[in-house]
Every structure is written in C-alpha cells, then in structure tokens.
C-alpha cells in the first residue's frame, strides 16, 4: 500500500477519470466507476427536481387556504414529488452510485460481472427519466405516486400512462443493477474474500439486489395492467367494468412495501461502514448485522397488507399483517443496537460522515418506532392517510436514506474524486440538515394525530401553526442540501488532494489510489483477514 502519494502531481497519475477524454469515453464506458458517476449526476438532477416540488408543496401549505396553486396543480406537484423522489432518486440512489462504484472494489474485482448490462441499466434509467420529464412537461399527472385505481385508470384526466411508463421503465434499470450485484458477489470475489469477510455494505446491497430482482417485476406487471385498463378498458381494477380496486392495492404494495427496504437497506450498509471507520474498531455482531439485512429482505415481502388495514380486508388478515410487521421491526432494531455497541470502547472521531451517521441512527430510530404505530391495528385506523404517515416515512426515507446518502457522499468523495472538501462547511451543513429535517417533519407527527389528512391542498385553520413550522424547517433543510452542492463542486477544482486513505479506513477500496485506476487494482488482491480488522497491522492506521 502506498502512503506517500499526497502531492499535487497526483493529477498526473493515470486514473479512471483521466484514462480517456471526450463525451464518447463517458457515454460508451463500461467502467463501473464512470457509470457510477453518470448515475451520480443523473440522480442529483432528479433529487434537485424532486426538491423543487417539495419546496412548492411547503409554500402552498403556509396558509390554510389553497391560494398559491389551484387544486389540480397542487395535486400534480405532490404526485411528481413522489414519483421523482421514489422511482428516480431513492430506489437507485445508493446502489446505483456508491454500490456501483464500490461493490466491485470491496470484493476485490476489476468490474461488475456484466459491465455492458451495467451501462444499459443507466440508459434505461435515462429513458425512464425522460418519460417522467415528458409527463411533467406535457401537463403532469395527478394520481399520487401510488396510482390508486380506479382513479388512475378511469377518472384522472392527466398523463397517467406516460408517468406509469416512466416508473415501469426505471424498474428494469433497477432489476439489471440487482442482477449484476448478485452475480458479482457470487462469482467475482477475490481470493480469500469469503462470505464471512464481505464488508457489511456489500451484504446490504446484496439483500437489496434480491428484492430488486424478485419484487420489481410485480410492480411492472401492475403498472402495465393500469395502462391496459386505462387505454383499452379491460376490466381489472375498475368495478364498473368488472374489476376490483383492492386487487390493485395488493399487487402494488406487494412490490412497494419491499421497495421501502430497497430504499433503506443500502443506507444501513453505509452506516455500518461509517460507524466502524470512525470508531476505528471492528464491528460488533457482524453476522447479526449481515443476517438482519437478509431477514429484512425476506420478511419484508410478507407485510404489504399493513398499508390496507382500513380498506375492508378481513380482520384476520389484518391480524397476520400486523404481527409480521412487528417481526420485521426486530432486524432493524438489531442493527441499531449493534452500531451502538460498536462504538463501545472505540476511538470515535467526528468528521462529517460520522455526523451523518449519528444523524441517521437518531432519525432512523424515530422513523422505525413510529412505524410501529402504523403497524398496530388500533392506532393505524386513526393514523393512516394522515400527516403521521408522511412524517414517519420521511423520517425513514430522508432522515434515514438521504442522510446515509449524504454520509456516503462525504465518506467516499475523496476516493471518487481524489479531492477533499472543506471539513468545516461539511460539519455545518450536516448540522443544518439535522435541525432543518426535524423542524420540517416532527410537527407533522402532531398534525397527523390531530387528524390532518395527507394530500390536502387546503386544510382546517387550526393546523396552520404546525404547518408554518414545517415550511420553516424545509427552508433550513433546503439550504443544508445546497451548501454541499456548492463546496463539493468547488472541491473538484480547489480541494486538497485526498490521498489514498484519508480516514484510515479498512476495506479494499481504500488500498487503491484516489481516484482509482480503470481496473481498480494493479494485482488481484488476496484477502487474509476479516472485514474491519483495525486492530491488525497497526502501522497502517497512521495512513492519512
């Protein structure tokens, strides 16, 4: 391992960024790292777009009257916020960027198993994204991201088929990424990289990949049926032509509940990496953290009915889904406890990525515990379809996943770009994200228990104060996301050279130069130790 390459001339050394130049070398690349960068740029654009929609929602909700937009426009805005954020940011986010970049390096491989399929997945994502943009530009869609029937198939007068096609197409990109990860983990591990030595980020992405491959086809079928009913009036979901709208909900949530775990599992993988690195200590309960990822992936397929407790389904089915929902909470709790135990007698430092990890554990704990209120039958009847649900899933999706994503971005940015960002600004914006997030979404728990329904363009006047707090928080949160955009771009040109291993982290990706060369490793690494073996090779802990 070279340790002295921190001089400015690092630019001269060949790496995956300067190996080739020109737009063709990017658009036709099969290098997993370049594809990861393409994904990083694309999903950042989508995140910004979804964020603009979020801002518009919060502006409208400053006042109880629906005065900024008309109802139809508001309905389109929250629908596009959901569609863009879920299908084009949250689902691909960590797997397609950091998974794509680091999963092969972490297992000691030169690339993913199917580099061209990897590139194909990005093109499919882009085509899906263009369909999404087309739906917005043509006039939008107003069904909510859930596309509930028969509203979506018969009653909506907006561009449902275009928007559903966008989600349908993007799904194939997700399937291909998952497939690539599964094969890579099975077949491409370096000598000595046994299953028990895989970094926990790899385990998390592997579990995610299983859901992507097994679950996504179901939502593809469901969305196709919506299209068929809407275009050709084939009666599947609309009772007026012989269908059943509840059937749609079963099919939709059979995918979309596991999809929640597609969104959060990779984030949990990131946190496992961050907590060990910044505690400089082997992980506590490796096999329980890895196993809980698989447990979540499996049980996650069996709980979809908890979205449907008030639809009139059998109360015995409600019993079953409620009980299994309690069960699926256990593996998540196991992870939180093991991360905490990892810090015990560690050597904890507080760089920006670790601040995001602290934020994740806190916010995800609240998000997970409030999920129990929705899995419990008696409370769900009151809380479902209110702002309590909105608050709960934003605690998991933003407080959990987006915070993990920001942590991952700050953790691996030096490896991806070879540059350091300004640490002070990093810490400051991490704090802004944490404060702004809580101010935005905590009041929504109270609003939900008070009974404010979600997707309301206008609301009862007594809910205003809490909504104003929420909008104020969203403003802070927005600034918290803008600052990193600025200093990360700034660091590309002006940032200090990062060196190979600025955090003194373990893992094969840190044994390469920053940025890595096209084939990652000069020689295939041979793995002789378990993951996070910080206590061995003490002399290397000084690196950086």
């Amino acid at each position: 391992m070279s340790t002295a390459l921190q001089e400015p001339e690092i630019k001269e050394t060949p790496n995956y960024l300067n190996a080739e130049y020109g737009w063709k070398s990017w658009l036709f690349t099969t290098d997993h790292k370049r594809i990861a960068v393409l994904y990083l740029i694309s999903i950042s654009i989508m995140f910004a777009l979804g964020g603009v929609f979020a801002g518009l929602i919060r502006m409208e909700l400053l006042t109880p009257e629906g005065d900024l937009f008309n109802s139809d426009t508001y309905n389109k805005i929250f629908t596009m916020h959901g569609v863009v954020m879920i299908f084009f940011f949250l689902i691909p986010s960590i797997p397609a960027t950091f998974g794509n970049f680091f999963l092969p390096m972490m297992v000691g491989a030169k690339d993913l198993a199917f580099p061209r399929i990897n590139l194909l997945s990005w093109y499919i994502y882009v085509v899906g994204g263009l369909f999404g943009l087309a739906a917005i530009l043509m006039g939008g869609v107003d069904t909510g991201w859930t596309f509930y029937t028969p509203f979506s198939t018969t009653y909506s007068n907006t561009f449902v088929i275009t928007a559903a096609s966008a989600a349908f197409i993007a799904g194939f990109s997700s399937i291909l990424t998952g497939l690539n990860f599964i094969v890579t983990v099975h077949k491409m591990r370096a000598p000595g990289m046994t299953w028990g030595r895989l970094p926990l980020f790899v385990w998390a992405n592997y579990a995610t990949a299983l859901i992507q491959v097994l679950g996504t086809p179901v939502v593809a079928i469901t969305l196709a049926l919506v299209g068929l009913e809407r275009a050709f009036h084939i009666g599947i979901f609309d009772p007026a032509i012989g269908g059943d709208p509840i059937l749609f909900q079963h099919m939709f949530w059979f995918y979309s509940h596991p999809a929640v775990y597609i969104m959060i599992l990779p984030g949990m993988g990131v946190i496992s990496e961050l907590v060990t690195c910044f505690s400089r200590k082997g992980v506590f309960g490796y096999s329980f953290i890895a196993g809980s990822s698989l447990g979540i992936a499996i049980i996650g397929f069996l709980v979809w009915g908890h979205h449907m407790f008030v639809t009139g389904m059998s109360m015995y089915a409600g019993l079953y889904f409620s009980l299994l929902t309690m069960l699926v909470a256990v593996p998540s709790a196991i992870k939180v406890f093991n991360w905490t135990a990892t810090m015990f007698r560690g050597s904890i430092s507080y760089e920006t990525p670790m601040l995001y990890a602290f934020g994740f554990i806190g916010l995800f704990t609240i998000g997970g515990l409030t999920g129990l209120f929705l899995g419990t039958l008696g409370t769900d009847v009151h809380l479902t379809d209110t702002y309590f649900v909105v608050a709960h899933f934003h605690y998991v999706m933003v407080g959990g996943m987006v915070v993990a994503y920001m942590g991952a971005l700050h953790f691996w940015w030096p490896k991806i770009t070879g540059k350091m960002y300004p640490e002070g600004w990093g810490k400051f914006s991490a704090l802004l994200v944490f404060v702004g997030f809580n101010l935005t979404f905590f009041p929504q728990f109270i609003l939900g228990y008070l009974g404010m329904p979600r997707r309301y363009h206008a609301y009862a006047p007594e809910f205003q104060v809490l909504n104003v707090m929420s909008t104020a928080g969203a403003t802070v949160l927005g600034v918290g996301f803008l600052i990193p955009l600025i200093y990360l771009l700034w660091s590309l040109k002006y940032g200090k050279a990062a060196g190979n291993n600025p955090w003194g982290a373990k893992g094969l990706e840190w044994t390469t130069q920053s940025p890595p060369t096209t084939f990652n490793f000069d020689e295939t690494p041979i793995v002789t130790e378990e993951a996070y073996a910080y206590a061995k090779h003490q002399e290397e802990a000084h690196v950086g």
């Binding site: 015990f344 050597s347 419990t376 009151h382 379809d385 007594e462």
Partner: protein
C-alpha cells in the same frame, strides 16, 4: 393563534386509542432516549484522544443479541395485542345500531337516514347510541374519517363497507375524506354533529319530506319496473322478495348465500352473478350505470323492510318515519345514470 396539540375525543373507543397511543409513545420515547443517551456517552467517553490509538475489537455477544431481539419483540407484542383488540371491537357493529347510509362521490358526502332525511357533508347523531354507517362509493375510493372518534374506513366502489361508533360527547367534529380522490379531495370535508338525544329528535322532526328511505326505495322499485317481475304476493318472473333479506338463498349452482346488503346490490347490478335456484339467467337486465349508489341503497332498505313487514306497500322498517330535513340539495330520489349533477351542492 390556535395551536392544538391533542385532538378531541368523542367516544369511549377514541379514549382507548388515546391510551394505546400514549403507551406506545412513552415506550418509544424511553427507548429513543436510552439509545441516544448511550450513543452520547460513548461518543464523549470514547472520543479519539490520540491519532495512533487502535482499540481492540469486540466481536459480539450472542446473549446480548438475543436480549435486544426478544425484549423489544415482547414489548411490540403488547402493542399488537392491544391494537388488535380495538380493531376487532371496531369491526363488528352491534345489532341494535341505528343505520345511516353514506355515499361518497367526487367530491361530496351524501348521507341518508332510514327516515328519509338527507344531508350533504353533514352527519347528525345522538349521544349514547351505536351508529352504523353503510359506505358506498359512486366513483373512486374515498375514506370516511372522523378524527374525534379515531376511526376511518375506506369507501370502495363496488363494495359495501361498514363502520360504527357510539359517540358520548356532544359537539361539532371534523369529517374528512382521507383517501386521495382527485381535484377537490381537500374540499370533501364536512362536520359530524353529536347531539343530546332530545335535540336529535327535534332535529329529525324538522324540515320537509319525501318519505322514508324505504318508501323512496319502493317508488324506485316501481319506476325501474322491478315490480313487474318481482311480485310481492305471488310468483312472477323473478323471485318473491318478501322475507328474503337476512335469509339464506339457494343458488342455481347448489351453494347458498346470505341475502345481505352486498348480495342485493350485486343482484341488481349483475343479476347473473349469483342466480337463485330455479330461475333462468339473462332474464333480468343489469342495472349497472342505470341507477346511482344512493338509489341502490334505497332499494336495499326497501327490500330489507320487506323482511319484517306484512302489508305490501307499507314498509315500517324505519326508526323515525318523520319528514326529511336539511334539504341541502334538491334531493332527487331518482337521479338516473351516474352523472355529475349536484356537484355544487352549496354546502362547502
């Protein structure tokens, strides 16, 4: 400036839900604070003091893993058990509940009482008596949500759903549509007025009349020509409907089915679906698209009334055969064909 932090509770079950919610909140707060406290202490106590310290790993502890899996799960089981009890209690209306019929349509709630009274976006109920709502949708999925009672139920087209409650505190409470249903979803709101029984009787007695719900159903039965085949005192082309409701009906396929609200509705809209033994298919036309959900509910109430009365044309299965009240919209008994009439019912 209003800043409510806790919703009003207008029924015993609402208070029960509150207790469960408070219990779960306390457990969650204790749990979170415990985790945050431990992390805080670790972060301070084990902060990096010199750059070359390398702590020894601790690989794990099976005993700890089992402890922090099993204990939380047992606590969660108490949530599950208490929540299931409330859910089951809410699922089965008591037999003595008074009926109110609710039709959701874009974007209003239309309610009708057995006595024939109609309302839009308003529900009046007395304290101390169980109220059973039968929910139908004219178009998309809606959801009938009364926060002060801590209950909601989706209103699904093609299904009859029921919900029930016993309010115990007079007042005016929000009624919301909780399932996104299109343009004016957030305008599909109204009020539930819970009254003292005497006030309720007065309220029922006011206003004009177009007969009880069963009488309206009977008129519809004539107008749609049902009565030409379904004779009341002798065999016609269709089955005699007297005494049918609430009985088990022998079907052509050999099975039997309980003649309840949902069965009557299905037989009107799709007569061949569950054909009575001894009758030919395709004799009765489908009334799909020919009659509103409100009309179907009136027919159901009429047929229900035939189960317990003898004199034809004098259904008495109504609690308060008083005149209808609150004529908020031009109440048409027969608004044929699903139409967008009354959209501006003037009750917002």
């Amino acid at each position: 400036m209003q800043l409510p932090l806790w919703p009003e509770a207008a029924s015993a079950i609402a208070v029960d839900v509150d207790h469960l919610y408070i219990y779960m909140s306390l457990v969650s707060i204790v749990m979170s604070l415990l985790i945050f406290f431990v992390i805080f202490v670790f972060a301070i106590k084990y902060r990096r003091r010199s750059d070359d310290e390398v702590p020894q790993p601790i690989h794990g502890s099976l005993r700890l893993e089992i402890t922090w899996s099993v204990i939380p799960f047992l606590v969660m089981l108490t949530f599950f058990w208490w929540g299931a009890k409330i859910y089951f209690y809410n699922a089965v209306p008591p037999p003595n509940a008074m009926d109110v019929y609710v039709v959701g349509k874009q974007w209003m709630w239309k309610l009708q009482y057995p006595g024939g009274q109609r309302e839009i976006n308003e529900l009046h109920v007395p304290i101390g008596r169980p109220v059973k709502l039968t929910l139908a949708s004219e178009d998309v999925i809606h959801s009938f949500f009364i926060p002060a009672l801590r209950i909601k139920h989706d209103v699904v087209p093609g299904h009859y759903d029921t919900m029930w409650f016993t309010p115990d505190k007079p007042g005016r409470y929000h009624l919301f549509c909780a399932e996104y249903c299109g343009t004016e979803h957030s305008g599909m709101v109204g009020w539930v007025t819970v009254m003292q029984p005497a006030d309720y009787e007065n309220w029922l007695a006011g206003g004009g009349s177009s007969g009880t719900m069963a009488q309206q159903g009977e008129r519809l039965f004539e107008q749609l020509g049902c009565s030409s085949c379904h004779l009341l005192d002798r065999q016609g082309r269709g089955p005699i409907l007297r005494g049918v409701f609430g009985s088990r009906v022998q079907l052509a396929g050999g099975q039997t089915v309980m003649a309840d609200d949902a069965y009557i509705r299905e037989s009107i809209l799709n007569p061949n679906a569950k054909l009575v033994a001894g009758y030919k298919p395709n004799v009765m036309p489908s009334f799909q698209g020919q009659i509103t959900e409100e009309g179907i509910l009136q027919l159901v109430v009429y047929i229900k009334s035939l189960a317990i009365t003898n004199a034809p044309g004098a259904p008495t299965a109504v609690l308060h055969p008083g005149p209808a009240v609150q004529p908020v919209a031009a109440a048409q008994t027969l608004s044929a064909v699903r139409s967008a009439d009354q959209l501006n019912g003037g009750t917002k």
